[in-house]
Amino acid sequence: MKLREALKLDSSGIAKLKDELRAKVDNSLLNAFISLDEAGDGVPIAIKDNIQVKGWSVTAGSKILQGYISPYNATVIDKLKGAGLCAFGRTNMDEFAMGSTTESSYYGKTLNPHDNSCVPGGSSGGSAAAVASGEAIAALGSDTGGSIRQPAAYCGIVGMKPTYGRVSRYGLGAYASSLDQIGPMTQDVEDAALLYDIISGYDQNDSTSADVEYESVVDKLDGNRVLNIGITPSHLENAAPQIQKAYKKAVKALKDAGHNIVECTLLDPKYDISAYYITATAEATTNLARYDGVRYGRRAESDTLEQLYINSRSEGFGDEVKRRILLGNFVLSSGYYDAYYIKAQKVRRVIKDEYAKLFEKVDLILSPVAPTTAPKFGALSDPLQMYLSDIYTIGVNLAGLPAISLPVNKDEDTLPIGLQLIAAPYDEQTLFDGALSLERALETL
């Protein structure tokens, strides 16, 4: 059942839907859900484990937050409630959203519904697997460097990252505050637009929330608009052949739908990776300083306060989180700050300006989401290799742009392949219009 159909159900229809979902989750081996908590009446939406729901044990997939109970609702949860929806189940994720596979969760791995030997992607892997398997009709995820779009692509669903500032981060467990955005993960483009409209808008509780007039998108969705769509052939060199094939297929579909295709170039994405991992780890190290075993979550008993901090953090954080905290302290520490952190901020501006220039001549950019289809479990155990797999998604976060990942093709092993469209800041209308057009054009191809 699509989200837009569920929104038409009466209360007994919703109750029946929830029963069906409970039964599916109970019988599932995917481990998409950490637990099937419920919060009130309404159309059920699965929630990533880093979004606060009052009374839920929200743990960001981490051991260090065991025992924490959220004392308030994130703004997006209140917005869901206000629109007749409700939080339904906590979905699995990489610890503190730091990862591309959901393997680093304290709760064990989540399986890709299309091939159980493959990862569902990450960090919002639980949300993606839940929607792809029909265990949820729609979900919320968060995207700091691709964490909505990449699992959506690996699981064959639609995942959308809004413009930075569009959706309130109030109540989102912070990883990298200048990059994080909450967004919808759904079965198709129209559902994504619907859920995006519900969670968006200015919020005085988030100082980075964009105080701009909000216009709804879904009622104006227009798949017939003719758009200028940028393609970046030089970027494709890093992608596997089946991804390149899917890219060609999408370009053909867009051409057939009447869009103008414009060839573009972007900065070598290896610089995106560096600017991203310096910025994100610097912010993460600052945000995660609050986890000290004193105020919330899990404490490791110790004789001195300093040992309590060190033991709580060393026992409570997993390897990838520790690595990013160490790296963040490296790039921020005296002697290295200018060469790493400041340099990364300058490069970030260069990347943002480059996109701004591109959007003077195109409405949207078509890009791969990941260089391969979903890898096998363990294939990305080398941290740097995992970071490199983010090559196509992190530029969008560095520049604060909206982007949407949608299924385009399948490889020979029938793993889904997703591609993304990227738009100028605050131009979500064009983003959804283009995505709807591509979705329809692919159906008739």
């Binding site: 025992g67 924490y68 109970i69 004392p71 308030y72 930075y164 200048s178 005085q204 100082s207 980075t208 964009a210 290896k270 610089y271 990776i273 560096s274 600017a275 310096i278 190290t285 300083a289 075993g293 004193v294 919330y296 979550g297 899990r298 404490r299 004789d303 001195t304 306060l305 300093e306 040992q307 309590l308 901090y309 060190i310 953090r313 060393s314 954080f317 390897d319 520790k322 690595r323 905290i325 160490l326 790296l327 302290n329 490296f330 520490s333 290295y336 060469a339 790493y340 340099k343 990364a344 901020q345 300058k346 490069v347 501006r349 260069v350 943002k352 080398d382 941290p383 740097l384 970071y387």
Partner: protein, 96 residues
């Protein structure tokens, strides 16, 4: 720039973390690989580029200086904290 045991010790101190003895060598190797990779930024010319980056160029929004608080949230946090009493978190003795 190479990551070595001395630098790792410094970062552990800054991070309030202790890396297990059995994992130090691997940890140093991985950090070193990542730090070496991100040095590719030095090949980009960024002379004259503003070093302050903010997603939104306008100033931080201001509001009237009126206190807003929800005592329920404070009560719930204290109730669920690892160790608390009245309005306090309890930690090991810090003054002899």
């Amino acid at each position: 720039m190479r990551v070595d045991d001395e630098l790792l010790s410094r970062l552990e101190k800054l991070s309030m973390l202790k890396i297990d003895e059995s994992e130090r060598t691997e940890c140093i190797e991985q950090l070193d690989k990542i730090v070496s990779f991100v040095q590719n930024l030095s090949s980009l010319d960024t002379d004259g580029v503003d070093e302050v980056f903010a997603m939104n160029q306008s100033a931080t929004a201001l509001r009237l200086d009126e206190p807003r608080s929800s005592s329920d949230i404070a009560d719930d946090i204290l109730k669920n904290a690892p160790l608390s009493e009245d309005s306090f978190f309890i930690v090991p003795k810090i003054i002899e």
